[in-house]
């Protein structure tokens, strides 16, 4: 199952993953449009929310807007779960179903921000300064 991995001990909570995610998907600077979420709890704890490609959002979706894309990574039996925005009605069933609570609406429209692994090159992993994020192909 191709998915993101995390190492919270290495995370420095710089929010670069959120910001680069917003940049590569929407070409804006806005960490609230990230498909990775960093939660801070002072003084010294934090949590990373990442998409583990479990597919529960796809199961929950009444419109079948979330589908598996097998064209991106061919070494796996399972594809990447992606969102077809034209089919989405913004009902929010997928958000309720998400076990890691990473799937959230955009701040300015009723559309979930679904991680698509950057179509095979996750930029949050590439730009993390401390390698707190990683990804596996198997």
């Amino acid at each position: 199952m191709p998915r993101l991995t995390k190492n919270e001990d290495a995370c420095i909570t710089c929010h670069r993953c959120e910001t680069i995610c917003g940049w590569v998907h929407d070409v804006v600077f806005n960490p609230d449009k990230g498909r990775v979420i960093v939660d801070l709890d002072y003084p010294d704890t934090h949590h990373l929310r990442i998409c583990i490609q479990c597919g529960r959002c796809a199961d929950a979706c009444p419109m079948d807007a979330i589908y598996q894309d097998f064209n991106i990574l061919t070494t796996s039996e399972q594809g990447i779960y992606r969102l077809d925005e034209s089919k989405c009605t913004g009902c929010g069933e997928c958000i309720d179903a998400c076990p890691t609570k990473v799937l959230q609406f955009y701040p300015d429209r009723r559309m979930p921000r679904k991680c698509d692994l950057c179509l095979g090159q996750p930029m949050c992993v590439r730009y993390c300064p401390t390698n707190a994020l990683g990804w596996v192909l198997m």
């Binding site: 001990d9 420095i12 909570t13 710089c14 929010h15 670069r16 910001t19 680069i20 940049w23 929407d26 070409v27 804006v28 600077f29 806005n30 960490p31 609230d32 449009k33 939660d39 709890d41 002072y42 003084p43 010294d44 701040p107 300015d108 730009y127 300064p129 401390t130």
Partner: protein, 634 residues
């Protein structure tokens, strides 16, 4: 509005009426002043009348972000606070990291101008478009950590970023800080007291809007170059991430520039015990970065042993470790960490607090003050229990703290008995963490800086003692840190560059070892904003900001006689590697004023200089106040 980088709007909060309005940024000003410190001093100069009371209703408190704030450039999470300082009565610009500045930008504002004075304590909640004023009666008197938790609970949002003052700011301690994100502080010069005088407890921000880049393709390329530069440099790529900023303490001690015992000397026997390397071995649990930071110098500590058991939070940075460590003759790192955290809790500037306690310790050791003055606190060198116990007393103006809370000038006047001889300050701002007798460029920097003694604009010790050189700022290959010759020649471009970087509002750590050169930032800024910036134009913007700060100070009546160093720096160093070295300031100053194009007698910018920088109206103002002061003298 321009292509990118800016949010394009300023928020004005009127605390007299508890009202707000939003205004657009002037595009001409953006190109001339960039943002941050430069634009902030413009708003301050235009908005605060000469000789206004810093703690009165006519002073303004200006929070500024820059074009790079909130973008993907390394260390873009900072904001700066520009105001008239109650400590120095001059302009002060203090910078803080964290996430507050970028959040403000995402809320759609490049800055906040706070005007007037509220009658009752209030706090402000900025939620994108909406601005709410709330009563802060229940928060008044609370420390910063409680304030943070209470506001988050009241507004029901854990993702808020909040800037607030602690009890020190409420009690108008003259070096109170404005804290944000719990342990980040805009502190030097006491902006917290200004915020306290306005009865503004906190500004909570939640922003979800977009910032755009003018030329995304070019921007992305230059952002990648910036990242490579920062990762590849020894300071930003390995020393600060692994050991923190306190990792340079052993080097500074070896070179004899670690100020010790109220600047008596420049080397400290216990330097290794307070260094970042020791911190990493004993109490470090993890590191943190500000927004989009690649350097992550912030240390998170947890002490699980000894008398300071249970101290958790952010660890001390370089200047705090020096102020509470070598300056107080204290080699107990746990005590330094506790004092640092208590300062953050009460909202005090760690550097000024440590330096003031060090001064009191010297007076106590010399017998100028005794147990009756200090209410029984035994302020001997290295008495760390006494040191940490003084911090809350200063913040709440209790006992001996009441004397120390008004800054060194006031305190020495109240104590008398020759105590002013031991005051180590420039323009009443306490000397920070470099012993200037071992680094003459730093001495010139202390004397000429517009906000008082300051070791970050520029951090000349990295050039003089650690050997880093900028290729583009005209620095000679070899120079002697102990010689006064030619310092002004390279200090002036450095000061301009640092002022420009402060106007971009990114972290000084990307430039203190000249990791990022001016042309690279100019390229990056052009791609982001759509203006065409080159190296020279960037440096000129810095020079313009520097001259305007100077003009603000000149309008307040400060002249060349205020560009002086404390007596102690003019006396030879008693020991250490630089034994016998003393600063001869006048030689450097003459050269400095000449190269700056300033009047050698007054130290003011000449009208020609101001006009060449496009500050003609400022030149007229200065001419007027020169006539006024001349008449007063006659």
């Amino acid at each position: 509005m321009t292509g990118g980088g800016y949010a394009g709007r300023m928020l004005r909060l009127d605390l007299n009426e508890l009202d707000f309005h939003v205004e657009a940024l002037n595009e001409d000003d953006l190109e001339r002043f960039i943002g941050g410190e430069g634009l902030g001093i413009k708003y301050l100069y235009d908005g605060v009348p000469a000789h206004a009371d810093p703690l009165g209703p006519y002073n303004r408190l200006i929070f500024m972000t820059g074009p790079l704030t909130g973008t993907l450039a390394p260390t873009s999470g900072r904001h700066c606070v520009v105001t008239k300082s109650p400590l120095t009565c001059l302009e002060t610009t203090s910078h803080a990291g964290g996430y507050w500045g970028s959040e403000l930008k995402f809320a759609g504002y490049d800055g906040i101008i706070v005007e007037g004075q509220s009658e009752k304590p209030v706090y402000v909640f900025i939620d994108d478009e909406e601005v709410h004023f709330y009563k802060a009666d229940g928060l008044w008197g609370r420390d910063t950590i409680q304030t943070d938790a209470l506001i988050k609970r009241q507004l029901g949002d854990d993702k808020l970023n909040i800037a607030y003052i602690g009890p020190a700011g409420e009690n108008l301690v003259k070096y109170a800080s404005i804290q944000n994100d719990q342990q980040r502080a805009a502190a030097r010069g006491g902006p917290g007291a200004v915020m306290g005088s306005k009865k503004l407890k906190a500004i909570a921000v939640r922003g979800t809007r977009d910032i755009r880049a003018a030329d995304p393709a070019k921007y992305f390329q230059s952002m990648n170059e910036l990242l490579d530069t920062c990762y590849g440099h020894v300071v930003t790529g390995s020393l600060f991430p692994s050991s923190g900023v306190t990792g340079i303490i052993p080097v500074m001690n070896e070179k004899g520039v670690l100020p010790t015992k109220n600047h008596y000397t420049g080397n400290f026997a216990g330097a290794d015990k307070i260094s970042g390397q020791t911190m990493a071995k004993t109490m470090l649990t993890k590191t943190r970065g500000c927004f989009c930071c690649t350097i992550h110098c912030t240390r998170v500590i947890d002490i699980e042993y000894g008398p300071y058991y249970g101290t958790r939070g952010k660890g001390p940075d370089y200047d705090s470790a020096v102020a509470f460590g070598s300056q107080c003759g204290n080699d107990n790192l746990e005590a330094i960490a506790r004092a640092n955290i208590v300062c953050d809790q009460y909202g005090l500037d760690t550097v000024s607090t440590g330096a003031t306690i060090a001064w009191a310790m010297e007076l106590y050791e010399r017998g100028i003050i005794d147990d009756i003055d200090t209410h029984g606190v035994k302020l001997n060198w290295g008495n760390h229990e006494a040191m940490t116990s003084m911090v809350p007393k200063i913040a709440t103006r209790a006992e001996f703290g009441a004397v120390l809370a008004d800054g060194l000038d006031e305190a020495s006047k109240r104590i008398g008995r020759g105590s002013e001889r031991y005051v180590q300050s420039v323009k009443n701002m306490d000397l920070p963490g470099i012993e200037a007798r071992g680094s003459k460029g730093m001495a010139l920097g202390y004397a000429t800086d517009n906000r008082g003694a300051d070791n970050l604009r520029p951090f000349a010790a990295t050039a003089e003692c650690m050997g880093f050189r900028s290729k583009e700022l005209g620095m000679p290959e070899n120079f002697d840190p102990l010689s006064e010759e030619g310092k002004a020649q390279w200090m002036i471009p450095c000061q301009n560059y640092f002022a420009a970087v402060n106007s971009l509002v990114v972290c000084m750590f990307t430039v203190i070892a000249f990791t990022v050169e001016p042309s690279q930032y100019a390229r990056h800024l052009s791609a982001l904003t759509g203006f065409s910036f080159e190296k020279d134009k960037l440096l000129e913007a810095g020079e313009r900001a520097w001259n305007l700060q100077r003009a603000f100070n000149a309008r307040e009546g400060f002249t060349r006689k205020d560009d002086r160093l404390p007596h102690r720096l003019m006396e030879p160093l008693p020991n250490g590697p630089d034994k016998g070295s003393a600063v001869h300031l006048d030689r450097m100053l003459d050269e400095y004023y000449e190269l700056r194009g300033w009047d050698k007698a007054t130290g003011w910018p000449t009208p020609e200089k101001l006009r060449s920088l496009g500050l003609g109206d400022v030149a007229r103002d200065l001419e007027k106040s020169r006539l006024l002061s001349g008449r007063a003298l006659a």
